[in-house]
Symmetry: C2
Subunit: 196 residues, 2 copies
Amino acid sequence: MTQPLPDAALDQLFRTARTYNAFTGEVSDETLQQLYGLLKFGPTEANTTPARIVFVKSDEAKAKLGPALSEGNYKKTMAAPCVAIVGYDMRFFDKLPVLFPHVDAKPWFEHRDDANLAWVANRNSSLQTAYLILAARALGLDCGPMTGFDNAKVDAAFFAGTSVRSSILVNLGQGDPASIFPRSPRLGFDEACQIL
Amino acid sequence: MTQPLPDAALDQLFRTARTYNAFTGEVSDETLQQLYGLLKFGPTEANTTPARIVFVKSDEAKAKLGPALSEGNYKKTMAAPCVAIVGYDMRFFDKLPVLFPHVDAKPWFEHRDDANLAWVANRNSSLQTAYLILAARALGLDCGPMTGFDNAKVDAAFFAGTSVRSSILVNLGQGDPASIFPRSPRLGFDEACQIL
């Protein structure tokens, strides 16, 4: 029987982990490879893995991202060592002959309408965004996820000519403890869950 | 600087963790409380936390779930010690005065149309489903997530008269190693990611 992780690990992943608004340090390309090397294993529907990620580190790429950010997200994001732009590929089904080799799963998706494909891609790329957040914390990084940005501007700046649409941004680095807000309440077990 | 978790923890969460099709053991109510006590801390947009979870353990509740399952998911799900039905509350904004106490965030959402609310709820409850999966693994449980079921039937059986809609099912227990399939390929870093 698999044992629970030690309390310190549960803290690092969930209980004392927080959303940071300021970061220090650098995020090396090697760390980003390690991050993807973990998050890629998280389960998705028919192994569709629709998430496509642009890791923004350079001043040039940040200059492209800046105009798309909401006012409250601009300064902290421009100052972050790395910003992950997580998008989803609307043509994720093109990869299924590789990703789901034992069955021809492409026909399950390819003739669906855009609204349904976007729904599936949103669901699965959001699972993958959470895998990214927890994989980052597992590697000792801190995160600042956000949705306050102009999706059309990000798509035009980073995904023009592709079938990828932006979904969520995640700032990455070593979190500055001075930058966190008091933790907001969570629903109690009985408000969010039932056991039947 | 926070240290990475040890390799054994990264394996348990991501690298050797697998989707199981058969389970042994029991999942106690206390374990489900611990599970929620971890997953609830995962970040969501404006702390909306729209996921609502029914943990199905009894024969009576399984009998209500059974008719909604696809043929390929029926037997394994009926045999699982516990099935988490993860849904999302379309009226998640009603909880924002509690969940986001420092700003009146309810008006940000309450007048949006159903399609937009469903999009936001899908995105955030999917993040929370991934937190559930990784929290379960962190507690030494194994998972079998799936979407192959009739959402309308699950909604009628478990969420009638509420604003909750079903999204994803996750079987939970001690995974039987004989029940896993060979791991399907993942996209390489350069197929899924860019560093700019």
